[in-house]
């Protein structure tokens, strides 16, 4: 599959067609994208700041419950983002802010994988009152930096878009 074919696949998909032909689909997906990012950011504020020790109350374990909300917010954003992307795929891939956003997204997801495969177990093994290890704190700090980076770059898309955003 050439890259042109991949872009055409998204463009001609039901998501792409709906986003261009049914009034309101695109703006509803934008709204869902915003609500999803609020859920994601709210949730990472709870558990990343708890892992970092900025928030101190309650068990580390109960703070990690909020990863489910982050995952739900991310799922909303993946679904709505797919529709937004399929609207005009070639414009997005040519947009430097979008390319950088996808890089940040990839790094943020790799950080999630690191946290889930390595750090979560360490957190669960801690006794009550013990604070997290340096590695866990690094993953939490990176999570905040990368996800905020994703949002900033996402809102910067119109600046570098071809023919306006």
């Amino acid at each position: 599959m050439t890259s042109a074919q991949i872009l055409a696949f998204f463009y001609d998909s039901p998501f792409g067609i709906a986003s261009r032909q049914i009034k309101g689909v695109f703006s509803i997906c934008e709204t869902v994208h915003f609500v999803g990012l609020c859920l994601l950011i709210g949730a990472i504020l709870v558990f990343d700041l708890r892992m970092l020790g900025v928030l101190k109350r309650g068990s580390l374990k109960s703070a990690l419950n909020y990863t489910h909300i982050a995952a739900f917010g991310l799922a909303l954003n993946a679904a709505s983002g797919l529709v937004l992307f399929s609207n005009k795929p070639s414009n997005y891939v040519a947009n430097p802010a979008f390319q950088l956003k996808m890089l940040f997204l990839l790094l943020a997801l790799l950080n999630v994988v690191w946290f889930e495969t390595v750090e979560r177990r360490k957190v669960m093994a801690l006794a009550e009152g013990e604070s997290t290890e340096l590695g866990t704190k690094m993953a939490a700090g990176l999570s905040l930096l990368l996800w905020f980076g994703v949002i900033i770059l996402g809102r910067w898309l119109p600046v570098t878009a071809l023919g306006g955003g």
């Binding site: 703006s27 609020c38 859920l39 994601l40 709210g42 109350r57 309650g58 419950n65 600046v159």
Partner: protein
């Protein structure tokens, strides 16, 4: 509308209007501020509704300082964006609905926090379940903020420049 037009001539309004990036920098700040304030509020509401019951409600107290910072960033950038296009925004229905629902969201959050303090012995000290009233306020607060976001998004489709 004269006073709104004159807002466009003040340094902030004209920076947003005529600099290359002023408008977009404000949009970025507006989105980041929104994510922080609405995100933190939603986490409190979801917790009151019964999610992660062993998470102490007092955990949200320091988070509220961060939420306030998000709100201030959101309000400051929102004000700058308003200065740049006041005359049109003031007659744009989605904008007026958005401002109304932000007020509702704020009032309902305030009422929720007061309710939780009233129920302090159960919900805060003992980590017990919140009352139906508190849960209703939590659900309403979330709904108000979501409508505000929705209306805010619609501004882009309905505004004149």
């Amino acid at each position: 509308m004269n006073c709104l037009t004159s807002l466009q001539e003040n340094p902030i309004g004209s920076w947003v209007l005529s600099s290359d990036y002023g408008y977009y920098i404000c949009l970025v700040g507006h989105a980041v501020g929104m994510a922080v304030v609405v995100g933190a509020v939603m986490m409190l509401c979801i917790r009151v509704l019964g999610f992660s019951k062993d998470q102490p409600l007092l955990q949200f107290e320091p988070l509220f300082a961060i939420a306030w910072a998000g709100f201030l960033l959101n309000a400051a950038t929102g004000l700058a964006l308003f200065m740049a296009n006041g005359p049109n925004l003031a007659k744009n229905p989605p904008f007026l609905i958005k401002i109304g629902f932000i007020l509702f969201g704020g009032l309902s959050l305030w009422a929720l926090w007061r309710r939780l303090i009233t129920e302090r012995a159960v919900v805060i000290d003992a980590n017990g379940p919140a009352s139906v009233q508190a849960k209703t306020l939590a659900a309403a607060t979330m709904a108000f903020w979501i409508v505000a976001i929705m209306a805010g998004r619609l501004i882009a489709y309905t505004i004149d420049y």
